[in-house]
């Protein structure tokens, strides 16, 4: 028997038991095996799942952290969410984040990975992949601070560059204006994150059997059609995964917004994460913060279910 490609080999470990377990093992001994999982289950239960459940309870309370006063207010926090214009603004900003990140970090990165992989020299391919990844290795805090300076109106690189190119009329305080702040932050985030996606897509593209490309070359198919009719369909699984991961990440944004604008000016660059922080730790409204937390949870939950459903129904094999 020849070896089958990894994708159609049966999942080994899940179903086939080691030899010495073939005889029915006493169930008490099997329960004793749970020691392997106890550390993981314990830390997750106490520090991840329990707080999550508590958060749902908290979202029905009016609660001042300093006085310790708690009152059950039913759905009042959620009613407040529905009418809070800044919550709406934050939601919109997260949606922009998701949309732009999908265009740049999923489809842009996929196209770029295909371009990188089309370079003949292995050493150059590796060099480009590595260079693009560097911003992902430095923290969002450092990247955020760096772009805070780049966006500065007087000493910043961007405005100086625009002026030197004769585009001085576009120079402005990018983080200081309500209309540009969130997009300046999103642009920084694309700079920081696209190399990571390029790396993942490159790896996925490398796994496409060379024969498929050779066959298409014989048939006289050009590189652009090859990208759309071979590469894209065959990395569809990775594309789907990246889309979900990217959208999910876009609704969890916190760090760069906090560092660059703290949600300002005039709450124009507020996102769900920073608005939650603002509500809980600056306005001392823990109940309302918990309700925002539930909103983030519901959004990420829907995306996770979507991801599971997609990975099950859209498996590509060759």
């Amino acid at each position: 028997m020849t070896t089958a490609p990894a994708s159609i080999r049966p999942a080994v470990a899940r179903d086939v038991k080691p030899v010495r377990n073939r005889q029915p093992v006493h169930s008490r001994e099997r329960w004793r095996n749970i020691v392997w999982l106890i550390p993981a289950l314990a830390v997750l239960a106490v520090f991840v799942y329990w707080p999550l459940l508590q958060n749902i309870v908290f979202s029905f309370l009016k609660w001042n952290i300093y006085s310790g006063e708690q009152t059950f207010v039913g759905g009042a926090n959620y009613a407040e969410l529905a009418t809070d214009p800044i919550f709406g603004k934050a939601l919109l900003n997260n949606a922009w984040y998701a949309l732009i990140s999908i265009v740049v970090q999923v489809f842009g990165a996929l196209a770029l990975a295909a371009i990188v992989e089309s370079v003949r020299s292995e050493r150059m391919r590796k060099a480009f992949r590595s260079i693009y990844f560097i911003p992902s290795a430095i923290s969002l805090t450092v990247a955020g601070l760096l772009f805070y300076f780049i966006y500065q109106p007087q000493s910043g690189m961007l405005d100086a560059f625009l002026t030197s190119m004769g585009l001085g009329q576009y120079a402005q305080a990018w983080l200081g204006h309500e209309s540009t702040a969130i997009f300046a932050i999103i642009a920084m985030s694309q700079w920081q994150g696209f190399g990571y996606s390029v790396l993942l897509f490159s790896v996925a593209l490398q796994r496409i059997p060379v024969e498929l490309y050779e066959a298409s070359a014989i048939d006289g198919v050009g590189p652009i059609r090859r990208f759309f009719s071979i590469s894209m369909p065959l990395v569809r699984e990775m594309t789907g995964l990246m889309m979900i991961v990217t959208i999910s990440g876009a609704f969890q944004v916190f760090n760069e917004v906090m560092v660059m604008t703290s949600g300002g000016p005039n709450n124009s660059s507020q996102v769900l994460g920073t608005w939650l922080y603002h509500a809980g730790f600056l306005n001392n409204d823990f109940g309302y913060a918990a309700a925002i937390g539930v909103a983030i949870f519901v959004i990420t939950l829907i995306l996770a279910i979507l991801q599971l459903w997609m990975s099950r129904s859209r498996r590509v094999e060759w």
Binding site: P18, A40, V48, I65, A137, I138, M157, L272
Partner: protein
């Protein structure tokens, strides 16, 4: 006809190089600018943002180190190393248990561990603050260590489990026939065979822990416990006039992770491909 297609290919290849090199410049230029700004004086920084520094002295780096960066680095290094160690240990045990050991409700436990992947830390933020205040873990190193360890477990198990599922079972069986205990099989066979994925997860966990901001900011506010990211943000708001110092601090925060990535790159890419692509 032939010359037209040759010309077309040349144009295409020129375009490819313009895109690739152009992007490389967009990525590298701000980073080089950050590094060079650490050597400038405040006046140089404001008056000639594109110029090279007039001289290369390390005063700003030394001053930044003395004004707190040294302390932030110490906190960040200890936190990163310890949290990564505990996450790896807990994660490897769990991945081994889920793939190699017969455990009742195995599938349920798998779902429970991996579902943690989708939870945003912000969702648990309010209750965690409340809980840690009650337990005296708020504003402590231990508290932060626990959070960093716990929240990285699902992703670590996710990657390790995918890898261990593909390891041949025959070696386990051979070990069992030789009379090796489960624990011995884990330490002496499975763990050494999982080296690539262990390196991958270590790199990813170190990157995440070193760069983490949310927990570090909320759980160590106004103490001497700031990690590097929080400390740098503080340094900027406090030292609003001494920008070169902040740039020097940023460079010191960024360089170790860039080096780590380049050193471990080979393993890192392979391990990530194996886990995420599945």
């Amino acid at each position: 006809m032939v010359s037209a297609s040759v010309a077309g290919r040349l144009v295409r290849s020129a375009l490819v190089w313009i895109v690739l090199v152009g992007l490389a410049v967009v990525v590298l230029y701000p980073l080089i600018w950050m590094f060079l700004n650490g050597f400038k004086t405040n006046t140089e920084l404001f008056d000639k943002p594109f110029a090279l520094p007039s001289r290369f002295g390390w005063e700003n780096f030394v001053a930044a180190w003395q004004q707190g960066v040294g302390k932030f680095v110490l906190t960040s290094v200890s936190l990163t190393v310890l949290a990564t160690f505990f996450t790896e240990a807990i994660g490897a045990w769990a991945a081994y248990g889920l793939t190699r050991v017969r455990i009742p409700l195995n599938r349920t436990f798998t779902v429970v561990v991996l579902a943690g992947l989708m939870l945003a830390p912000t969702v648990a933020l309010v209750p965690l603050v409340k809980m840690f205040q009650g337990w005296g873990l708020y504003n402590t190193f231990l508290g932060l260590l626990i959070l960093y360890t716990a929240f990285r477990v699902p992703f670590t198990v996710f990657l390790m489990r995918a890898y261990m599922m593909d390891l041949p079972l025959e070696v386990d069986e051979a070990a069992a026939i030789d009379g090796a205990s489960r624990a011995a099989a884990f330490w002496r066979i499975t763990l050494p065979m999982s080296k690539p994925i262990i390196i991958t997860t270590i790199v990813l966990n170190v990157l995440t822990n070193w760069n983490e901001y949310l927990f570090a900011m909320v759980f160590t506010s106004g103490t001497g416990l700031q990690t590097l990211p929080v400390g740098l943000a503080d340094l900027m708001s406090k030292n609003g006039t001494q920008y070169p110092l902040v740039f020097a601090g940023m460079t010191m925060a960024a360089v170790p992770m860039v080096i780590l990535f380049f050193v471990c790159q080979r393993y890192f890419v392979r391990g990530l491909a194996g886990g995420v692509g599945k």
